[in-house]
Structure formats: C-alpha cells, structure tokens
Amino acid sequence: MNAPILSARGLCKSFGGLRAVHEVDLDLVPGEVRALIGPNGAGKTTLVSMLIGRIAPDAGRILLDGADITRLPAHARVRRGMAYSFQITSVFQRLPVEENVALAARRRLGRDRAAVAGEVARVLAEVGLSAEAGRMAGDLSYGHQRLLEIAMGLAQRPRLMILDEPTQGLAEAEVAGFRRLVRAISADCTILLIEHNMDVVMALADRITVLDFGEVLAEGTPEQIRADPAVQAAYLGAA
C-alpha cells in the first residue's frame, strides 16, 4: 500500500460536555475516493473541519505527506495542496462567477493574467458553467452554486479535496451530473467525501469510513460496509 497522503491519529474534539469526535484514526491513500458516512451528529463535519484547520483538535495529530500539520492554520494547509468545499454553499455571492474561480486560481498563478484566465475557462468548462461566467454568483441556482464550489476547489489544483455533502439539496438529474464530475476529478486527486446519499457513496467510494457518536464504527470497501451488521444496526437500519 502507498504511504498515506493524509493521516489522523487520535483526534478528539468536545464542545462543552458534548464529545463530538473521539479518538479517530484515519489514513487516506493517494488517488482514492474515501466516503465518510454516519448519522446526523456523528461528527463528520467536525472531523473534516479539524483536518482542514477550521477548528483545532483537543488532542491528536494530523499528518499531510508525513509532515505534522496539526498546528498549521487553514490557509497554510490549503497552500500545501488541500482544498475544502463547504457544506453550506459559501461562494462570493456579490462577485462574478469568473472572479470567484479566479480568486481560487490566482493564489497559485499570481499576476499572470493569461494563465489565470486560461485556468478559469478550463475549470468552468469542466464543471459546465462556462455560460454563467459573467453572472453574479449569488444569482446562480442552488445547484450551480454547488458546482461553483467544486470549480473553486479545482482551480486550486489540489492533491486532496474534501467535499462536505456536495449533493445536499440537489435534484436527481443534478446528482447524476455530480457523480460524473467527482469521478473525473478523482483521476488526479484524492477525495474525502462526506455524503448522505447512499447511491452516490456506493457508486463512487473506493473505501468507506463510518462514524457514529464521534468514533469510527467501521471501515472498508462498499461491499464490506454494506454487509457489516454493526453498520446496519447503527446507520442503514433495515436496509
């Protein structure tokens, strides 16, 4: 097995008396699509927020390419090749679509206007938003804003992309488009995907990690997870 791109060891986080994440270990292998699933309140968003650096863990360590990044601020982790797309759409509403993507590309490409413009065009074409380039991001439909989130992630050319519930609130047809998009992205990027839609998870994930009450309940391939009685009891219910 390849050396992991991202490792977490013994991550803990409590909010007041609530133990949101407890002693979680996680290893992501380069190139894989890992799904993170679990019931509401299982600690999924808290866990990835610690991985990207939006909140600090109470205990534990996070390694990126073997280097300890536990104390690095979020922007420094992004500079090392991580990208994060928000669960609740967080685009620059009052800026044009192309400027949203350009902001993501410019951090890497700097003042090279031609390179930035080229990257913006490439990424917007990839997610299918080329026709919307000049519109205000806030005027886009919800589904298109979700796509814009992904585009902003892509423009950073990350090595590891964390997608927090990308299909939440999307229509059936849009979900199918998303599946194709995530599969295309996974060709050259490791993906950590938080997802409620089990069809999407089963279709995309190489491996699945199940979180329950802040702890890892199970980990394995989609087949193993589907067959795991503990997971069925905790999460899948009768299905």
Binding site: I52, R54, A74, H75, F86, F92, R106, R107, R111
Partner: protein, 310 residues
C-alpha cells in the same frame, strides 16, 4: 482602459481647475483634495476590505504631529517632515492593527475608537510639546521646500493636487492587482478567502498599515500646507468625517471618496451660509442617501450605468 481614462481625466481636470478657478473655490479645492486623500485611504480599509474603523483620526493626527513636531523640534524641511508623518502613521497603524485585528465587526469599531481616544488624550497630555487644544502654527520659513513656499496659494494647490493624484492612482492600481482582489474577497467572505489559501490576517494587517499611511500623508500635508497643527484633528469628529464622505461618495469605489468629500464640503459651506443648524442639512443629506442611494454616488453609477467602475 476606461477606468484608467476616467481617473486620469479627473487628475487632469483638477490640474486644469488650478488655472481657471476663482480664488475662493481654488482654496476650497486644495483643502478638499487633501481631505479626499484621507478619505481615499479610509476607503481602502472600509470600502474594499470591509473593516469599519471609528478611529482613523489617530492616523491623520499621527501624520500631522509627526510632520509638525518634526518641523518644530527637529527643524526638518517639509519633504522630510512629510516622510516622518507617513512613517509615524504607518507605525501606529502596525501597532493598532496587530491588536485591533484580533477582533472583528463591532468590536473592531470599538477598539479602534478607543485607541483613537487614547491618542487624542495623549496629544493633550503632551501639551508641553503639542500645546494641546490650542495647537501651534508652522511659520512661513518652516514651510519652504526647494525654494517653494507651501503657504503660497498656487504652490499649495499644486502640492495638494500631487498628493491626491498619487493616492488616487496608487489605490486604483492596487485594487486591480491580485492583492487588491483578495481584500474584496475578504470583505465579501473572509472564511472562504482563508480556505482558498489566503492568509487573511496578513492581508488585513497590510491594508490597515497602508490605509493608516495614506491617512497620515494627508494629515502631514494638511499641517504643512495650511500651517496649523491642533488636537481637534485627533478628535472623534475627524474619525467620523471620512466615513461620511466615503458613504456619500460610494464605499468601495476609487473615485467615490473624492466626490463625497467635495459634495459634503460644499453642502455644509452653502448650508452654513443659510442657517446656523447647518449640520442638520448634512444629516438630511445622509438620510436621503440611505433611502435612495445606499451605495453612494459612485456606487449608484456603478450599479446603474457603469459596472466596470473600479
């Protein structure tokens, strides 16, 4: 580029005005240009970065006293005094920025207001050197640089024009650069900007320092051109004024602060000739503005006619 043309056009127009304006308006415009430079610096932080400071008078005063005390006690020539004023403002901006940026929103307003009050009181306490509220006058010979007397109306106008033009074009350039776009991104959604890999704290600190340095340059120029240094300029009134000018002219536009400063000056000038309650007129103007043009003059023009306006 249309944007460059428009702003260079304003710069050219103001230069042409030097040759045609009657004496009274010529003097007014010199003063307005210095204050507009102050407002432009304020707007960099408020309009572009989204940080509302209620204490910018401390930076204006840092420039004014940095220059004024430099002339008085170190016998600096006006050129060096201007630099001393800018340095004083930038240093104060760095110190205040490091502390105040630990807060955001309303807390940032209160902390900057507090530091400005402390600066104002500090100037009064150091009355032995600053002469407190009374202030001091820079005498004729103290205001001569390279044989040019800054007290002369023509020289004064051209110096004010040079300062304002430099500040205007600097800010115009900055907001078109990637670093300037990041400030707008921070204003719009700081968390998103951070997660695009931008060190938003460092960007905000740079914006505070640059905004303070521009305010200080205006303060230093005011002292040198109009020959008076006084604690009134460190009072809370001079922190509120640039906010009003920027709101009137259009926050987050390059040209707005100048328009706001100019308009407010003539509004108050005209109103005070008609009624002693002239601030009531200024208040009414702001109420109307909030109702009908909440984005300010240039902001409305951008929204309705010229979306390309920087």
């Amino acid at each position: 580029m249309r944007a460059a043309g428009l702003h260079l056009g304003l710069v050219g127009l103001l230069l042409a005005a030097h040759f045609v304006l009657p004496a009274y308006h010529h003097g007014v415009l010199a003063r307005v240009m210095v204050l507009a430079a102050y407002a432009t610096g304020y707007n960099l932080l408020f309009g572009y970065t989204g940080l509302l400071s209620l204490g910018h008078a401390m930076f204006f005063a840092a420039g004014m006293y940095g220059a004024g005390l430099g002339v008085r006690f170190l016998a600096l020539d006006p050129g060096l005094a201007l630099l001393a004023g800018v340095a004083a403002g930038a240093l104060l901006g760095l110190a205040v920025g490091l502390l105040a940026l630990r807060t955001a929103g309303v807390a940032f307003m209160i902390v900057t207001l507090m530091f400005a009050q402390a600066t104002h009181l500090g100037i009064l306490l150091a009355g032995r050197w600053t002469r407190g509220d009374e202030g001091f006058v820079l005498q004729g010979p103290e205001r001569v640089v390279l044989g040019l007397d800054l007290g002369d109306a023509a020289i004064r106008y051209l110096a004010a024009w040079a300062l304002f033009s430099a500040v205007l074009l600097l800010v115009l350039r900055l907001v078109s650069l990637p670093a300037g776009r990041v400030l707008v991104a921070i204003r719009e959604n700081e968390e998103r900007a951070r997660l695009l890999g931008y060190d938003t704290r460092a960007h905000k600190l740079r914006a505070v320092v640059l905004s303070a340095a521009i305010a200080a340059a205006a303060g230093a120029a005011y002292a040198l051109l109009f020959g008076y240094v006084g604690a009134t300029f460190a009072s809370v009134q001079y922190s509120i004024l640039p906010l009003l000018w920027v709101l009137l002219g259009g926050a987050g536009t390059v040209i707005g602060p100048f328009l706001g400063t100019l308009l407010m000056f003539y509004l108050i000038d005209t109103a005070s000739g008609l009624t002693p309650a002239y601030m009531l007129v200024a208040g009414l103007a702001l109420v109307l503005l909030t109702l009908f043009a909440p984005q300010g003059l240039a902001g409305e023009v951008r929204r309705r006619l010229a979306p390309w306006l920087p």
